[in-house]
Symmetry: D2
């Protein structure tokens, strides 16, 4: 019996800091990566910029505390008390995650050294790589970050400054990217013209920070300044921050799933708090998919924000429906040894006192197969719930994502083939309701340029030339 | 700069299962210990009862997933597919936690082998140990569990059955204890006559379970049958469960701090859900310590239950005030490397969108020094809160606990010497209010025999003969 | 295909030091255990005696460097800068070695605390344990060291001093033992009346040391004073060393296998260097089992000493026949993945330049099944040896050992049933010769009281009452 | 007090196998790397060639058994049952060894993928890298292997086959190199025109093997075919082995230190066994530097071969003078905690029975500072040696090596400034004698093209253009 994930996976977070005086930049980066850990737990790395020596980089498999223990951090901050650093956390879906693809990459070329890290997915990576290879480029990984590093370095050999090289390279790159790039003298951040992945600028003390999410800025005690604009290049050096604009796309394509699931609730993206967006979605869901019930409960942690909104809008009492086991980290509970229900219950135990004899509106932010949901519903019933009305604060997934969100083809086919009624039966809920696409757009601010192709199939870019990952993915489906 | 804990620490959880057929008993015990992990992360152990071979025990330093990896568990369940097992999770406050005191203990004596594990603290341990030593007993640790094992074994040499030996030993033991004891043929559980620590009986499939908290029963998909009574001995064997009553104390003395902080919200103790008790305390707190505010927020995870109650009673909106970093496990963030505010913010970041410009009622379940609280209040203000009214859903700690709750003498003296106003200033809150003792009693059901000596100084037993831990502790203060 | 060991296994080493001033006793013990590591790699431990606090003990599974890393040792020597300590290295043949049996044991009884560690095997352990249990003793392990601790503590409750208690306990103990025992004020060492296992007294700087072998004294830069006598009790305290004699056995029974295989060549036992004994055996072997050959080569490290003696006596040139891979530690090379020959060759590669075209006398100190030897002979031939004459510098094993040497019953039966010719064929040697029992006695000094029961079947004690390990072992065979 | 190494360090070993049928190539490579472990313990890696999937590479910090545990190896051989693989063990002298430089490197370029590993040191690396960078090359490490990979790949883009690309690249490379390079369809090995580092070809079963030393071939049960010639390129594919000759240097420059210290005694290089060379050196040393003595002893393991030769030539008895502790692996014994003498004695204890009252000729293969030697001599005297005549079977180091042998500048200056008499005094020996350069040449076969610049200062190549490592090194001295 295979076990299907119920959530798609995210693909990385980036962090960069410059002008850090009171703390070693490596240490602030370490803390910033902690705050971004939800974006990837497969591997992580930090590169620091020492003006005296070469860029120093340390990276490894595992979470931030696993890779950067106290001894490692001590030695790194002592030997490299740099004021500038970049870092990366990475998610990898491959079973045998390759250590080689751990970021940042440090690259030495004719003009010196750079370190680079990226969040995103280029749809024309294969074509770009082939072109570069024709000119003699040699790659050591499949990583887009290495590829972008090559593109930029090539341009730098032709053009003046590093930022001009970035500016020249960007039009070649199709797809989603948010890069932090560091040379000996400056930190450069740039975001794709559609702004598909989040990237923001903040200030922590006297230092400037760029990060995938603002939670990494505020967790460090800093303040969010603004998002990096789609197509914008930021250059951060001794003179402060300089901005270079490159053409934005006509239509923005910010990944709606950041609001739905990926980002942390305390992050603010495009002026909208992630918690607020989810709360709004919950309110909207209450209007679209009302239910007769005694309490509203959210599945921790993903469904809590929307559950509060649903409760507010519906007037049904919000209740603390589950206790999440704080200690269940890397366990083998999910292996085949035991029934799945038990694994689910060990992680998430219904609060019987709250649900016994009650009709429950159960909120989650998204659902793929519903395998886990089915066990949660079953456990709720065993704890005494008289009825369970499942409400999802986003529409069903129906289309593959080409920009880094990892949902399996099987899961999508499943969702497409099954009628909602079928899924409801499988979950075992008394009723099942999804938020509409219109509702989701309303919750996240309809005027903003958002990509919701995974729900609608309206991709921000047409499928490209043969050989692209993009086309291959479409073919595969 | 020293860092003071803001919470007392708990001292252990026990688990026992008998009659387990569909799963190896060791595996169910492993899951049960997971559910009790909040009661102790220093060390843990599992002893299984194989009728063919001797009792097999495996234990080590660390959490359940650290000690029992998949390979260890596989080998244990394969080599010992027993139907009966006991387990233990332990908290130790000593810096150099002694591996020897890891439980369960396996003891071989004239009548065979037993394994034993305990949650509690005997106040006459020194006197008992001296008496046993006069008769030739040899101890290898300072553990009460080893001591109780000796007491029971001695009685067993004099009297008939193992349960009769337990019955004979119990009147000798002063203080708090909840033991699980296993011989080749049966599982015995017994609880002190004042019922100071929690212990319950449940059913998981066809097996009977005893556990410190009912969350370990329901997490396994089982049902809580009832609490083990103060002074009760349960004998669980092939014939099912037999109960032996020994005299209860005139006055029960169940530790109120289990309701306040220790136990998991989904546990039910003495018929009252822990979440419910905390919710009640929050409601009562709203009546006793009202505040003018826009939102009510709880400090995760400890203040959430009471915050919901406070919000309900006061009519002020409950808001999700903080995001707790799920990945901050064993890190060195708390070391001296950085300002404490930063460490607090990395773990608990205020949700700016919810608190900006708002007057906040901030709820926590208890407070010792308030060092962490001060940082939380500061972070809330930086996130834009216009006012912070701190409310504590229990009274101030003023007296030491002799039964296992670990609060330092310095912290108690601090609490005693400082006026509430002084503490408020230190925390930096606009106002500070505690729940009254009467209020707490109301929240937890006034008629029940509860020990709240840490708040009131009314101990369930007078200080004993010289040499007792108890007297020594009083003297020290 | 099962893999048979070609050597019996040894069972532990002990070390004790008192009066250590210039270095912490724990540190000297750590070094001493290193020097005794060949006697056991399963687990190890160190107990130090702090006059201010209780005895502190640290132990774990693995070799000395695995259990005592730099951080552990630093903390131990800082927190316990004691002048007295004992230590133990242990070999365990059981597949699932029990951590509980790791030594030393620390025991607290009516007269204070003691720590104890032992090398040996009591043949009346079961009877002793049963007697003690009748008087209320409770055991937590199967270890003889725990049993002896109980015996001594019991006597101490009856009699005056700790050494008198030891004196009273010794006549009860049948079998082999070499104990180090430490109380707050003194270090006591005692050896069984037959002197079956080695134990010596030395001086390292101003401190007195007792150790299983003198290599642990000289490796620390100290000097061997003398062997501890059979039946002797040494008391080492502030007044220096006091000796108490208890009756020696009529006939000594020092384990000949210490000279043959167990002990390190640089140890001196009963006035005879172990290297010297092996060298003598090699000379004797040359006389008894001559061969026509070009070179003499020993199997490293076990056969080198005897090979030098053989070469000297025979006049045939000694050659360096093999290179031993220094890095093959805990590998999985021995698993079933590969042919055994390859595993052998990776560890021990013949030096082709020396053996090509030559007739080789190949010396080893002992042989059980000869599986490994067969591969070595095969590899020698492949490296070009024209003939291989296998010579063993001890007689064949034929009888089980009751005192700690671990040879499997199957292996003994194999040796008994096979004629030497059969074994030669299996090994694939051109000739095979063993040293005679008389020859071995000559090499080790015939007048000394030595137990060579594993070769002769003449045990130092008759098989005891039913229930003894001894009888059981005989029955099993 | 700083601790000076007494030996230079070696820089890597390579291994490649093709046509492996009965075992997975990864497994044979793993065993081959074990046999080469003495050439580097800092890191290691294996790349396997799966015709279906891309080249798969696994590498990490540590020794072969540390990086390739059973589980890792199992998964690797199961997922990649390839018939071709290459591997590398690496020594790094830098304190913070960079994981990025772990070999093999896998590189993807316009013509596919290659994996490469190297032993050696290019003296014109900086100039080569700069030239490549001008053409757009980007490097991720400082490794020569990565550089050579780029050189070859560039040529491959211009020329026909991969072997032709190697042939075109070789004339550009100055210095020492022995490379194994693997594409999807073949294994290529090539050695620099002076043959500075060892590389041989062998056969293991049906597979062809190239390895730094023949011990890796014979340990696998295979046979050495011959050395790879200086300047030779071997192409190993389905058609077997093809050889391409490129111009040899006029004068060979094989590193004499391979015979003196680096290589394993069981390896055969240029037709001369390493043991034989050392034995010869010992014989020659006896002629040049005779001594009146009772025994000859070698320092294990480095001095044993020469000691046997010295004993043979001088007629003085060879004795087993020390016992080397087999268990002292990665310990902290060498830290500042203790006197150095003790650290030395724990590792190497004199065999008192052999040396007491004797005059000893003590042989070692080389000496830098003599710090360790001084302790060994001291320990010998304490064990009772009446005189110690130190003899070194190579001349003194006086000049830096530019080809990978790591001797510190301080150590060389030390050796240059001190008269031999001064060093003798420091060592505390009664006399000290080195082998002459002429003597060493005789021992290793005078006619062969050998580089002994570290003894003579006669480098095989003049110091190059500015910017070379080579020149910088000379300047530094």
């Amino acid at each position: 019996m295979t076990f299907y994930k119920d959530k798609p996976d995210e693909e990385c977070g980036v962090f960069g800091i410059s002008g850090c005086m009171s703390q070693p930049a490596a240490y602030e980066t370490y803390l910033g990566l902690y705050a971004l850990q939800h974006r990837g737990q497969t591997s992580c790395g930090i590169a620091v910029n020492s003006e005296e020596a070469d860029i120093f980089c340390r990276k490894g498999m595992g979470t931030v505390p696993e890779v950067f223990g106290e001894a490692v951090m001590d030695s790194m901050t002592r030997s490299h008390p740099a004021s500038c650093a970049i870092g990366h956390v990475r998610y990898s879906s491959s079973l045998e995650a390759q250590q080689d693809s751990t970021q940042p990459f440090v690259m030495r070329y004719a003009k010196g050294s750079i370190a680079i890290a990226n969040n995103g997915c280029l749809v024309n990576a294969d074509a770009l790589r082939q072109n570069l290879e024709k000119d003699g480029s040699i790659f050591q990984t499949d990583s887009d970050a290495e590829l972008i590093g090559h593109l930029v370095a090539r341009q730098r050999l032709l053009k003046g400054t590093l930022e001009q090289a970035v500016q020249a390279a960007m039009p070649m790159m199709e797809g989603a990217y948010c890069c932090v790039l560091m040379s000996r003298s400056k930190l450069i951040a740039f975001r794709d013209p559609r702004g598909q992945k989040p990237l923001c600028l903040g200030k922590v003390g006297e230092a400037f920070v760029v990060a995938s999410e603002s939670c990494a800025v505020t967790s460090l005690g800093g303040e969010l300044i603004r998002d990096v604009e789609p197509g914008e290049i930021l250059v951060i050096g001794k003179q402060g921050v300089t901005s270079i604009s490159t053409p934005k796309a006509e239509k923005g394509a910010f990944c709606v799933f950041e609001y739905v699931y990926f980002a942390r609730p305390d992050s603010i993206i495009n002026g909208l708090g992630v918690h607020e967006a989810r709360y709004n979605a919950g309110r909207q869901l209450a209007l679209e998919q009302p239910a007769e019930a005694d309490i509203v409960a959210g599945i921790p942690d993903s469904g809590i924000d929307a559950a509060l909104g649903y409760a507010f809008e519906s007037g049904i009492r919000f209740a603390y429906g589950f206790v999440k086991n704080r200690y269940v980290g890397r366990t083998f509970i999910e292996s085949d040894q035991m029934a799945r229900e038990k694994a689910v219950a060990i992680k998430l135990n219904p609060l019987a006192a709250e649900v016994r004899g009650k009709s429950v509106v159960l909120i989650d932010d998204s659902i793929v197969r519903g395998t886990t949901s089915a066990h949660i519903v079953e456990n709720l019933r065993r704890a005494g719930a008289s009825a369970v009305h499942m409400r999802i604060s986003s529409p069903p997934f129906l289309y593959p994502c080409h920009y880094g969100t990892d949902i399996s083809r099987d899961d999508l086919l499943f969702a497409r083939r099954q009628a909602a009624e079928h899924i409801r039966l499988q979950i075992g809920a008394d009723s099942l309701g999804y938020l509409s696409i219109r509702g989701l757009r309303k919750a996240t601010g309809s005027s903003r340029g958002i990509c919701d192709a995974c729900f609608t199939g309206h991709y921000p870019v047409e499928a490209g030339k043969s050989g692209d990952k993009f086309s291959k993915k479409l073919e595969r489906l």
